[in-house]
Symmetry: C2
Subunit: 145 residues, 2 copies
DNA sequence: GTTTTTGGTCAGCTATATTGACATATCTAT
DNA sequence: ATAGATATGTCAATATAGCTGACCAAAAAC
């Protein structure tokens, strides 16, 4: 038994607390900007995923967000009405709707991201490259567990 | 300019996405157990912080959760009615209420934690000690940015 | 041509948060 | 003693984001 201190319950409890803080802070930074557009965090998460996976289908988005289609539909309707996104019929399978940001949506995303980026950027700037790589590795192990 | 790839926008966007997944997964694991007690994630977060900081005051908890006192009060009322916590007058300043888990609360916490622990434990078990330490360091820089 | 898949929608409900106003007990300072 | 500040509790109304269940239509797959 070596230094497996980080597998101790108290340490794990600390991590559970820290993950909550990290999420909350990261996603609360851009709330003022969202409010300008009458959007909330639900819209934010959708926009973020659409920007990262341009052209994804409704069910792709559903699988990433893990909410019901009724919940997502309200969010998408708001975004369409606000002219932030467009839905296009899928070329291969026209039952699918592919989701794209339009100009207004891209502008909104950039505003949100600029605000949100600061926190992560500064944290990484004060870390070395090895730390960031290892942060990423552990994070993805937590997700894919 | 060396390997500052991790400071690139696309990388940072990925991290923002990953932090969302990590939080969501970590806090959705124990939802079935919470439901047995008619509690939700709001109660879970409060119980977690009370266990980690036994005897903390209402305003301490408020500062950690960053919600309004009205919101917290509903949660605390539920926990008191369910006999999971007790509030005691502060010894030094009797305006303060100090919050403690009682037996039922401790049992509930252990059930929740056992469920939630798996994910983190397995992720760490498959990482080396250096990775976990660096994960922790970067995480706290994100929080305290 | 029947069945399955993908998506949209209506209606109602629940959980968790908000704002604003007001009440009470207790501590601190004069 | 009393005035003011602090910690907490509570009422009422509202917002946000999720849920279940039912049902419908278009398009694809068999």
């Amino acid at each position: 038994m070596r230094d497996l201190l980080y597998l101790k319950d108290d340490q794990i409890k600390d991590f559970i607390e820290q993950i909550f803080y990290a999420y909350r802070e990261t996603y609360s930074d851009p709330k003022k900007i969202l409010k300008k557009y009458s959007f909330g965090t639900a819209h934010h998460r959708a926009i973020h995923l659409i920007e990262r996976h341009e052209g994804l289908t409704v069910s792709d988005l559903l699988n990433k967000l893990k909410i019901t289609k009724q919940s997502l539909n309200r969010v998408l309707r708001d975004l369409v009405n606000n002219k932030a996104i467009v839905l296009k019929k899928g070329e291969v399978d026209s039952r699918h709707r592919q989701i794209f940001l339009n100009e207004r949506g891209k502008k909104l995303f950039e505003e949100i991201f600029l605000e949100q980026k600061k926190r992560i950027y500064n944290a990484f700037k004060n870390s070395d490259s090895d730390s960031v790589i290892k942060f990423k590795n552990v994070l993805s192990k937590i997700i894919n567990e």
